[in-house]
């Protein structure tokens, strides 16, 4: 197939009903099987981009397009995008009391299977157990209510568990590494790597603040977002430069434009 897995062109977006643009012309191509890191200072629009890709109703796209496997997804509802293969690991996952992870995930899995082809409880349980073992999660975890009272680290691990079970074509991971201690970070990173190994076409957009996770997940490309645009793109070495020099040189470069 010739078209990229994800192709974003001239994307502009703002909060629905408000003025200021948050995304001010984003361009980004991600091929199948590639891992791209998206870095950039706080407030530069990384999470907004992630949520716009997933179809969050709070944002209005004012210009540009998002093509996923060559199809325009902007008219699709969030659930349709999900079933099409887009997955967002949230920076701040919502809490849903009273709904167990197992029950929720089984519903999510079945939402993408046809009527009559739903996975039974036992089949699903096997898959879930296997993925939980991969992420070194306690078996009792699946019975807990979705993110309800979870620690920051538990929430992040739960996001990757969902990705592992739902097996998307594209995973957008929004600061999945922040709030994890080094052991948890390694587990999460190796989980993502195992998913990439199992599915060579899996594309990953890894949004992060820190270079730390890039020691465990090697990116094919690194992009830096500044004030709602991709200000710089490069190979893995760009991350090293950012680590060493911070964002100031980029600020100056952007200001100079």
């Amino acid at each position: 197939m010739s078209e990229p897995l994800l192709s974003i062109r001239g994307l502009r977006a703002k909060v629905e009903g408000e003025d200021g643009e948050i995304l001010r012309g984003v361009d980004l191509d991600l091929e199948r099987g590639e891992v791209h890191a998206l870095m950039g200072p706080n407030g530069s629009g990384k999470s907004t981009l992630a949520k716009v890709i997933a179809g969050h109703p709070a944002y209005e796209v004012t210009a540009g397009e998002i093509l996923f496997e060559g199809e325009d997804v902007l008219e699709l509802e969030p659930d349709e995008r999900s079933r099409a293969g887009i997955f967002l690991a949230f920076q701040y996952p919502a809490e849903v009391p009273g709904v167990s992870i197992a029950n929720f995930l089984r519903t999510a899995v079945n939402s993408r299977l046809g009527e009559g082809e739903e996975m039974d409880v036992f089949g699903f349980q096997r898959t879930l157990t296997e993925k939980m073992e991969m992420l070194k999660m306690d078996p009792g975890f699946a019975a807990r209510y979705l993110n309800d009272g979870f620690s920051g680290g538990e929430k992040k691990r739960n996001e990757i568990l969902q990705m592992a079970v739902l097996r998307p074509a594209l995973g957008v991971l929004d600061e999945t590494d922040s709030g994890l201690d080094i052991d948890a970070l390694k587990i999460v990173a190796s989980g993502v790597n195992r998913l990439s190994e199992a599915d060579e076409a899996l594309g990953v957009l890894l949004i992060t603040h820190y270079k730390r996770i890039l020691n465990y997940i090697r990116p094919d490309r690194v992009h830096v977002m500044m004030a709602g645009r991709i200000a710089e793109s490069g190979g893995a070495s760009l991350a090293d430069k950012l680590e060493a020099e911070g964002y100031d040189w980029l600020h100056r470069a952007v200001a100079a434009v």
Binding site: A54, P57, E77, D79, R83, V96, P97, G98, A108
Partner: protein
Amino acid sequence: MPRNETISGLGLDEYKYGFVTEDKPVFKAVPGLSNDIVRQISHHKEEPEWMLEFRLKALEVYYSKPMPKWGGDLSRLEDTLDEIYFYLKPQDQMERSWDDVPQEIKDTFEKLGIPEAERKALAGVGAQYESEMVYHSLKEQWEEQGVIFESIEDGLARHPDLFRQYFSTIVPTHDNKFAALNSAVWSGGSFVYIPKGVKVEIPLQAYFRVNAERMGQFERTLIICEEGAEAHYIEGCTAPVYSTDSFHSGVIEIVVKKGARFRYTTIQNWSNNMYNLVTQRALVHEEAKMEWLDGNLGSKLTMKYPSCYLVGERAHGEILSIAYAGDGQHQDTGGKVIHAAPNTTSQITSKSISKGLGRSSYRGLCKVYDGAVGAKSNVECDALLLDERSRTDTYPYIEIDENTASIGHEATVSKVGDEQLFYLMSRGLDEAEAMAMIVRGFIEPVAKELPLEYAIELNRLIELEMEGSVG
């Protein structure tokens, strides 16, 4: 009024469908209330004199009491009361054909996957033979244990002394206007007696006993749970109770003796024209435990506050309730706990969901009498609003005359959040499914206390109610 008109006025047609055998005289009351009607009811039930007197006195009390000014809007109720029939014999109640049942009710049965025979029973047409058979085999088992589980009429006829000893002692006639009305015209309901130390494993389900009958409009239930006994009673069914009536006013009286445990579960789903005003009360003795589990769906207005009078030391009362107020509905529900002995404890957990123009109110009373040393009570009420227009209110009444008592009250109101919805949808659930999942999660703490089949049906019912709530 000519007889035929009376019948068509009820939407019933006994001749066309031939449900009534000609040799039985069929008694029909005229609409509205009078001394005569009450006499006729008592006469047709072949009641002892004392019951007739009791009823007549209750009617006077009913007339003397004003309509409650609190709770829901009862301003149009008086007109309704002029039009309703205060007594229908059971065979009258069956004279309805399946064709008369509104399509929306049939559709609901269809969606719930309720078997044909059962659907008819629930709609008040036809008999439910299967449940009758189940009931008979269970009944034998219960009888061996000395458990009495029969209609309230049979209870009065067969166990007159036991009946009279307790009847109306827990909910006295003058308690409230509707308790008085029920006392005057009651008909239908259960009489239950659990002997000392007997543990009844299988829940006593009114559904088995009532089978083809509709639930009475003025049903009256009396339950006596002797020392150390244990039982669970389940009333009603989760399918919509279709009724041509627009008024339901029941009285439930329960005595839980020393060290006994009793649970009373009701899930009711009324048609939208219904005023549902029920008095449910339990007298809880020393070290006994009473639990009310109460689910209210449908109706125009429900006013229902199951209560526990904790009269013995270390008695415990618990009230768990779920209310769902759809468009145009008002659920005014909650609970009352009265601590009248030392070291009594209670817990009220109330969950309400309001959709569209629906309104849910929590109304609760916690009273601790002077001398109820060390009494503890905790109230938790959570309201979930499904959209901007829905409404919820909380009316907690707390009266404490004992300074060693400890009382907790916590109330939360939440809206189904955009972030929650987006989160679930981003995993592939469509909006309706996501909304239903949030609601299911919200009621889970109460639903998990229900027998599984009831919990499943409750969830399905709420989902059906929510259909169309998502734009």
